[in-house]
Amino acid sequence: MFSTLPHTFREHGLQADVRTLLLLRKSLERGLVRTLGDLYLVLKGLVTNDPKDYGPFSEAFYAYFLTIDFQPGEKLEQAIQRSRVYQEWLEREDLLDEETDEDLVDRFLNEIHMSSYDIQQMLDGEAIFREDNPDLADTDDIPDEQGMADTDDSPIQQGADYSNMSLEELLERMRQIAEQQKTQHRGGSHWIGQGGMSPYGHGGAAAGGIRLGGPGGGKMARKVIGDRQYYPVDRKMPLQDDNIDVALSFLKGIEEESAQSILDIPETVREGVRQGGLFLPVQKDKKEQKLQAILMVDNGGRSMTPYVRMILKLFSKMKRRFAHDLKTYYFHNTIYGGAYTDPARRNFEPIDKILANAKDYQVFVIGDADMAPYELSQSSIAQWQSIHARFPRAVWLNPLRERYWEYAFTVSIIKSFFPMYPLTVGGLEKAVLYLNSKKV
């Protein structure tokens, strides 16, 4: 069953393979995984490669280990409240009257994300608390069920300690849980309930630990998970202010290198010594990075208005950070003999001049390509074709949702000869891969 883990991660657009499993096994053997919270952190370290991965990672983790599935665009809280694991957890918990739904979700998340480090912190806090307030510790309602930190019964021993478990055992355990989940609704509660997470949640250490806090006390999992960074970024969503930086990181992938020849001194010397003192110059390539891009934006018509600002923001960021040469042209719907160099479309530049740019420019055309069929004239099509022919690395980014493309006649015409990708984070990623695969 664990073998499907990399698959689940890959489905969420993350990098995972057999090596991930091997490293996970190693982590288990070395005692890094004692709780579900630890498992989350260990896998996060192994699988994620970028802050933008945190969202998909949390999603995949919840889906795999807790069978919490996310509907597109759904908030974390809603997905949790809808899930069976949460419902069962609710049934088992002693609910306090004053707790709101939000508090409950917080508590739930805290239990899931409790790591052995947190437990350690709480035990430390408990010790300090006792020293400071000996009376309070005995008389107050802090349950004296176990002699916490200082005996073998301390919560960390009682709790689900997976460190002594082999990968196979853990695997078996997961399988059993999954089976029970199908047959009856005691479900994922094993991980949280009988699995021994509960002692941390209420009663045991947590009652004392979390409430009193202690130095650096238990961290609020909600703060971690609810953070926008961790919140699932839907890669199919159109570009927005939220994911513009993610998009930018993909665009960075198109930086290219140019090479020029210089004298290779070490090699010259080495050869000279080998030749007995006869020195012949040896050349080598010196690499440099550069990026030249032409941006053609459809800024006419209401259909494009929402996107233009975003696109210009994206590319101006790109220019500031790493593009050395960025030319921007504007047009309305399609090009007729040329395009404009200013947003108000006054300075016309004929197509010949655009085509006169060096052919190693990367061209991004951004437009919905959706217009009345008569607007896309034969000569206009020919001009797009000449741009595509001149610049091998040219792509069309379309803000229109991909599923509508086939219904727009003009989109399908342009798409038939111009490589077209949706203007989404995922689409940009694909476009960059395509551009990199083209040699000039």
């Binding site: 952190l41 490669n49 790591s115 912190q121 953070d227």
Partner: protein, 291 residues
Amino acid sequence: MALTSLWTGSENYLCDAELAQAFHMARVLGMPLLIEGEPGTGKTELPLQYAKEQGLELFVFPVGSKSTVEQFVANFDHVRYLRDSQVEVLNAQREEKGLEPLSSSGRMTENLDDYVQLGPGAKAYLKPHSVLLIDEIDKAPREFPNDLLYALSHRAFILPESGRTIEVSETDMPAVVITSNREQELPTAFKGRCIYHYIRFPEPATMRQIIAKHFTKLEPQLLDRCLDLFYQLREMGLERAPSTRELLNWIKYLQAFSPEEAQSRIQERSGMGVLVKTQKDMEKVLRLYGK
């Protein structure tokens, strides 16, 4: 592997829980820890403070736009090698004429290892339980991280000129920390060999703890004012939002005055140059807060 006990920061460095765990995990697994995050959030400080507090030897490789793996692992001194090989010929002639031979300081041209100068990477691998920092790897040319891959996954460097291999066992593996400001994307294969951690900007509560580590006696009211203004500035959408480092510098500056005077300095927005780094931002701040 490097020393594997959990390390949670020192007297003047607050290592947040998640970072501490990621670092711990990296050491236990003998993998490098790749830290990304905004500038000024203490990425570089982690290995420095760790090495200092644990009394471990630290090797630093500051990456620049021209860094190569040769500089990181080992450099072969071609010029000296050339000189010595010429000196050998010369010495044969001098001997015929009965002159004193020129010295090569004991270096032998047959022994290529004599001409190898080890870089921080090789030195760290030779010293068990050391700490190795590769700082700002995003500044490096694109091939640099790729060239490092072999060394990281096989725990071995090969010196091509002399054919020598520097290997380190998993038990002796140095704690490797790599930092990046995300100025360019690192190759996926490279990231896959690392434990990844992104430092999030500290919450006000954490920031208090960080400040407490640096300034033991600070007026609570003054601290409140500072933090208020600091987080306001961060939310203003400045071109270059102030970071932890800048806040600490600012407080250091305010410490030079009596509490009352410091308060009035905040009021007058003097010394804001420590926090606000571009002219445009400064204009925006002054416009919003008046003078």
